[in-house]
């Protein structure tokens, strides 16, 4: 099919195969997380069964992008029955086919069960995980086959681009995006429409649209999932942006290790080109646009836009001083608008539904939704999209299901290695850009790491600092050497070799690195340390004053003398007679925790 004008698209949509053409649609998650649990094989087996049983005409197997509920993957959803199976294994496939697809009997043992509850949940909409979510950026993820352009078109794909080219001037497009209140989802939160406007206003014919897909925060996979699950939405948005700023060339900077996302992007670009949706005179208008992919080697600093541009130009990925901003002097010295994947994914929806619709969602200054990657000590690991203004408590407890073992959650690290911690006192804060900054954290790209009462905040801060030190490009002194010195101080502390004055040195050095580093990486690198020092100073002091207990001990009042701990200790440092309180030789304890796990009466005291 080749699209030459708006009507062609309307006609194509009419003949695109759709879910209602089949009696049953079996959606198999083929996002990276489920793929790592062999979900590709699930899809293959299903296909094979369909052929063998001659069911292909009635039942369609759809390999989709991420459903978000990664902790329960691999996930298979059956429509229109609206039944979701979780943690499906290869050996479950024949039963699903035989029982559900052929005999129409739901396989109960594969249904989801809310923790501590007996009822089975058939429908995903009935799961707490999904109840408070609102999917805009992820609207097609888990719904369509990302490798099938027709699936996208059935869901009004490319209609936003068509609408823009038919009905709006570039200035009107910018106004819509500005009015919607959409802000950059990559971390900074700069108004997207304003960014486009700035780039548009710079004179010059050669301009670039860049999609920043260099997602680098540990534990974050929002952009990856969007590109894997709905690549066309990003392509469509890039073209809308191109039209708005007056650019004919789009570039997607994606890290090479995002193999699935890259493959699907290549396929999407090629399909869109074949359909005439990317190329010359799109929809028969004057507007032409081409999109290319630039692979990155996976350096964290290349998520910083000036470093990203350097890398795309073939140089070492090092940031430059701003100004000049990329909107004035970007790729090859030309005006360039760099936007993040998730930002782009919102754009077609805003065009189709209007800026008022979008700006009605969220808080006063932060509109729409935000995708977060939930990880760490939480029951429901995965990807969640919630309206701005949702509280941390709702995300952690209602959506995330709280701690897997019911322990107390003491903090959330948000904003990745550049962000800070939110302590439990602030869990009722409504999330938006401003509220996070006010708490010494930042939105970042949306990684949320949940930490429980057992987490050692000093070690966590040290982990993040090790990451940023490792990922620093080394260009400027404070980031190259300063973060190394901070790391060394932390290492000394946790090795019980620190001194009380180290804490002041750490804080002072951290402030200086923030104040004098060249780019955002260095300017935010000390945040995890500074913010944990502020909120959990006692943990730092325990190390600095060397009062930190590093070994386990036994509460003699609770110990019943069952000997389980002694029998489980790998270094034989627990002694005691049967039915008498035991004790731990702390000079030998290696703090492995085996006794803690073994004790039936919670008599073991953690370090």
């Amino acid at each position: 099919m080749r699209i030459n004008n708006y009507n062609d698209l309307v006609e194509w949509k009419k003949v695109c195969p759709r879910k209602t053409d089949y009696k049953i649609n079996v959606l198999v998650c083929n996002g990276t997380s489920c793929l790592s649990s062999d979900s590709e094989m699930l899809a293959k087996l299903l296909e094979k069964e369909m052929i063998e049983r001659n069911l292909k005409a009635d039942i369609r197997i759809i390999k989709t992008g991420c459903f978000g509920f990664c902790g329960q993957g691999p996930i298979i959803k059956i429509e229109p029955d609206d039944v979701t199976y979780v943690q499906v294994k290869v050996e479950d496939i024949s039963e699903i086919v035989e029982s559900h697809l052929v005999n129409r009997i739901v396989v109960n043992r594969l249904l989801y069960k809310e923790p501590n509850q007996k009822e089975l949940v058939e429908q995903s909409s009935g799961m707490k995980f999904y109840k408070k979510q609102m999917r805009i950026a992820l609207r097609n993820c888990g719904e369509i086959d990302p490798e099938n352009i027709e699936d996208y078109i059935v869901n009004n794909g490319y209609f936003a681009l068509a609408k823009v080219l038919q009905e709006y001037t570039p200035d009107e497009v910018i106004k819509i995006i500005k009015d919607s209140g959409l802000r950059g989802r990559g971390g900074g939160g700069f108004n997207t429409g304003l960014k486009w406007e700035l780039t548009r206003k710079v004179p010059g014919k050669e301009k670039y649209i860049v999609c920043n897909a260099d997602e680098g925060d540990p534990g974050a996979f929002m952009d990856r999932s969007i590109l894997e699950g709905d690549p066309h939405s990003v392509l469509e948005a890039m073209m809308i942006a191109g039209y708005a700023i007056g650019s004919n060339q789009g570039l997607i900077y994606i890290r090479a290790e995002y193999g699935v996302a890259t493959d699907r992007l290549y396929k999407a670009i090629s399909d869109a080109k074949e359909a005439g949706l990317i190329g010359k005179n799109i929809f028969g208008t004057e507007f032409s646009f081409d999109i290319n992919i630039k692979l990155g080697a996976g350096a964290f600093v290349c998520g910083e836009e000036t470093a990203l541009i350097r890398s795309m130009e073939g140089f070492r990925g090092e940031p430059n001083k701003k100004p000049p901003f990329p909107s004035v002097q970007g790729f090859r010295g030309k005006p360039t608008s760099v936007n993040n994947v998730e930002t782009f994914a919102n754009v077609p929806a805003i065009i189709l539904n209007g800026s008022k619709w979008f700006s009605s969602i969220g808080t006063e200054k932060s509109k729409g939704t935000k995708v977060f990657a939930l990880a760490g000590q939480i029951r429901n690991n995965g990807l969640v999209e919630v309206p701005m203004g949702t509280t941390f408590r709702e995300i952690i407890y209602d959506i995330g299901g709280g701690h897997p073992q019911g322990k107390e959650i003491k903090a959330i690290q948000i904003g990745g290695p550049s962000g800070g911690v939110i302590t439990k006192d602030f869990f009722d804060t409504k999330i938006d850009y401003e509220s996070l900054l006010g708490m010494g954290a930042m939105m970042g790209s949306g990684g949320m790491i949940i930490m429980d009462e057992d987490s050692d905040m000093v070690k966590i801060a040290k982990f993040y600092l090790e990451f940023t030190q490792d990922e620093s490009c080394g260009k400027c002194t404070p980031c190259r050497i300063g973060t190394k010195r901070m790391y060394e101080i932390l290492e000394n502390l946790v090795n019980m070799k620190g001194k009380p004055e180290d804490l002041d040195r750490l804080r002072y050095l951290g402030e200086n690195i923030k104040n004098t580093s060249l780019c955002g990486l260095g300017q935010t690198a000390p945040n995890p340390v500074l913010s944990t020092m502020k909120h959990f100073r006692e943990e730092y002091e325990a190390y600095a004053y060397r009062t930190k207990k590093t070994t386990y001990s036994i509460d003699p009042k609770l110990c019943i003398g069952c000997t389980k701990c002694a029998r489980n200790c790998p270094v034989d440092c627990i002694e005691g007679k049967v039915k008498e309180p035991h004790y731990i030789d702390e000079s030998k304890c290696i703090a492995c925790g085996a006794c803690y796990e073994a004790c039936p009466v919670h008599a073991i005291i953690k370090p």
Binding site: P478, T483, R485, L509, T516
Partner: protein, 584 residues
């Protein structure tokens, strides 16, 4: 109104000042005498080179409007800006960043080649650093001593990237760049290859701007001391044109003072047996090169002809334009010519065994060290030149020998290979070689006496210059480039068949040999180079003979030994060949 638009009003330390839009805070501060310390910043104004990487962060000052620290070297002023250079925040920011640099530095100043000439050391003194509060791991890299010209001690690198700016942007050689990440990030060659495995030309421009001892000339003075103390050796020394105009700076003289006489008497005190002048060989080069040029023009051979005195430039064309190796003149560089003559002609005249002759060249150049090691440049298995030491190394040798340079009397070069003309004196500056050649070519082609020897159109400091010179009926198109990036442009034109020149002079270093990689450090003051240049032109003007072919000892050399210019023996001894090399 327009005039006002161009100007920006701001306050620095409460002093109001109007400057042009686009001015940096640092430059604005300079205008009102406010000093801000810098380290990575380098502004070689006269060559259009600015290293504005803003990476060291020791020039931060506070913008009162935002409360933020900004790098003054790179931040441009804006209307209403209010800068305070010495708030506690700014002072401590600068101090801490310098301390961090020092915490990752060997701090072995006493034995460092840059001791008392190091910008990091000076800054530590200036900022009154008495304690380094953040100690920790230091980088540990092997010292690269593989190349003959340059020694690279990465452990002293502070990542200012001045060398990268010179190597990449000015010279377009691109051997140096950032390598690795985080604390392990360093300026290095690709994959940390040894310098001699790369396309390095050994021009030493990286050395001349390195603020620390991370890049330095390879120290050959121990070899010279050893030769001087070997009773079986007859040690001869020669002095390049540009050395005499710069060495005084090492001893407190104003830049641009010619000190030939003191250099000669100092060398005699060091114990050299004969002291010859590379300028003699410069005159000789002109005879050979002009002969070659006239031959190429009159017999429709390869044009343009490129000068070949500069070894860094020869190295450059071998690596970067291996398809154009027929364009440079086949003439050896002057000191190599003098070297081979010392081991043949001089040895013959004095009945010496050439095996016992040690030839030492005092050069403004690090590439000459590598040149002396070239296999092509020897006669009967003996290198034309044995050791090359730079202007800086010679100054150190004088100091080491407790010679008070300022008290040295005037002395003269030894006779046989010591006479020179004004034409040779200007070899040390961009445009000088081609002007000298033109003086001789004029008389060769027209057969008439050249009255006005000053070809002012060939002089100057712009990176690429061109001029037309009338030689009777022939109008000679002459091109001049200094800095290898400029040379690249002219070479690309030749490759593309677009070059209209008959002859092109190329010198690798900005300014020519006066700005060579072995000269006293200019520390960013490019006016020093202009003073050295002026000194050479003044020297030329003061000479009784100003055309190379009028050098009487030279005429005697051809009569007694070489035969005719470009003849068989001249070709055997004074010309060389080039070979294609890989580009890494």
């Amino acid at each position: 109104m327009k005039l006002i638009d161009k100007m920006v009003q701001l306050k620095i330390n409460d002093i109001s000042i109007n400057v042009e839009r686009g001015t940096t805070v640092l430059d604005a501060a300079k205008k009102i005498g406010v000093h801000i310390p810098t380290l990575c910043h380098l502004n070689l104004e006269d060559f259009g080179v600015v290293n504005k990487s803003a990476s060291c962060r020791v020039c931060v000052v506070e913008d009162e409007n935002t409360g933020k620290l900004i790098p003054s070297c790179a931040q441009e002023v804006y209307d209403g800006m209010r800068i305070q250079t010495d708030t506690l925040k700014a002072v401590m920011g600068r101090r801490t960043n310098l301390e961090l640099l020092l915490s990752n530095h060997p701090n072995e100043c006493l034995t460092c080649v840059k001791n008392l000439d190091c910008e990091l050391q000076t800054l530590a003194h200036e900022l009154n650093i008495k304690e380094i509060h953040y100690q920790g791991e230091k980088m540990s890299h092997p010292i690269d001593v593989t190349s003959f010209g340059i020694t690279k001690d990465t452990n002293k690198c502070i990542m200012c990237k001045r060398c990268v700016t010179m190597c990449d942007d000015i010279q377009t050689v691109g051997v140096l760049g950032g390598l690795k990440r985080g604390f392990d990030a360093v300026v290095a060659t690709a994959f940390h290859l040894d310098l001699n495995q790369t396309s390095c030309t050994y021009c030493g421009q990286c050395v001349s701007v390195c603020p620390t001892g991370a890049l330095a000339e390879t120290n050959d003075s121990p070899k010279v001391w050893r030769a001087l103390n070997d009773p079986t050796k007859h040690v001869i020394v020669q002095v390049a044109p540009a050395v005499r105009a710069a060495i005084g700076e090492e001893f407190g003289y104003e830049p641009g003072k010619i000190l030939t006489g003191q250099v000669v008497s100092g060398l005699r005190r060091l114990g050299f047996h004969q002291i010859f002048d590379t300028n003699f060989a410069a005159d000789l080069t002109i005879i050979e090169e002009a002969t070659e040029l006239v031959d190429r023009i009159q017999n429709n051979k390869t044009l343009p002809m490129l000068t070949s005195c500069c070894p860094a430039w020869v190295q450059f064309i071998e690596h970067q334009f291996p398809d154009l190796l027929d364009v440079p003149s086949s003439c050896k560089s002057p000191h190599e010519m003098l070297g081979v003559l010392a081991k043949t002609y001089y040895a013959q005249v004095n009945n010496l065994d050439s095996k016992n002759i040690v030839m030492v060249s005092i050069m403004p150049c690090t590439a000459k060290k590598a040149e002396a090691a070239r296999g092509e440049l020897n006669k009967d298995g003996l290198s034309d030149v044995d050791y090359v030491i730079t202007t800086r190394e010679l100054a150190r040798m004088f100091k080491e020998a407790s010679i008070d340079f300022t008290k040295l009397p005037n002395d003269e070069f030894d006779n046989l290979l010591g006479e020179s003309t004004g034409a040779a004196a200007i070899f040390g500056t961009t445009g000088g070689v081609i002007e000298a050649a033109t003086r001789t070519a004029y008389e060769m082609i027209t057969g008439r006496e050249l009255k006005e020897v000053d070809f002012k159109q060939l002089r100057g400091i712009e990176g690429i210059r061109e001029a037309k010179v009338k030689l009777g009926d022939l109008e000679l198109n002459i091109g001049i480039a200094h800095g290898l990036g400029n040379a690249r442009k002219l070479l690309q034109d030749i490759r593309d068949g677009k070059s209209h020149f008959h002859a092109i002079e190329i010198m690798a270093c900005p300014g020519g040999c006066i700005g060579g990689g072995g000269q006293p450090y200019h520390h960013g003051h490019t006016d020093i180079l202009l003073k050295r240049q002026k000194a050479l032109y003044d020297l030329d003007a003061s000479m009784p003979r100003r055309k190379s072919h009028e050098n009487e000892m030279l005429i005697k050399l051809y009569d007694d030994f070489l035969g005719k210019p470009g003849g068989h023996l001249a070709h055997d001894l004074l010309h060389t060949t080039y070979s294609a090399k890989e580009r890494i």
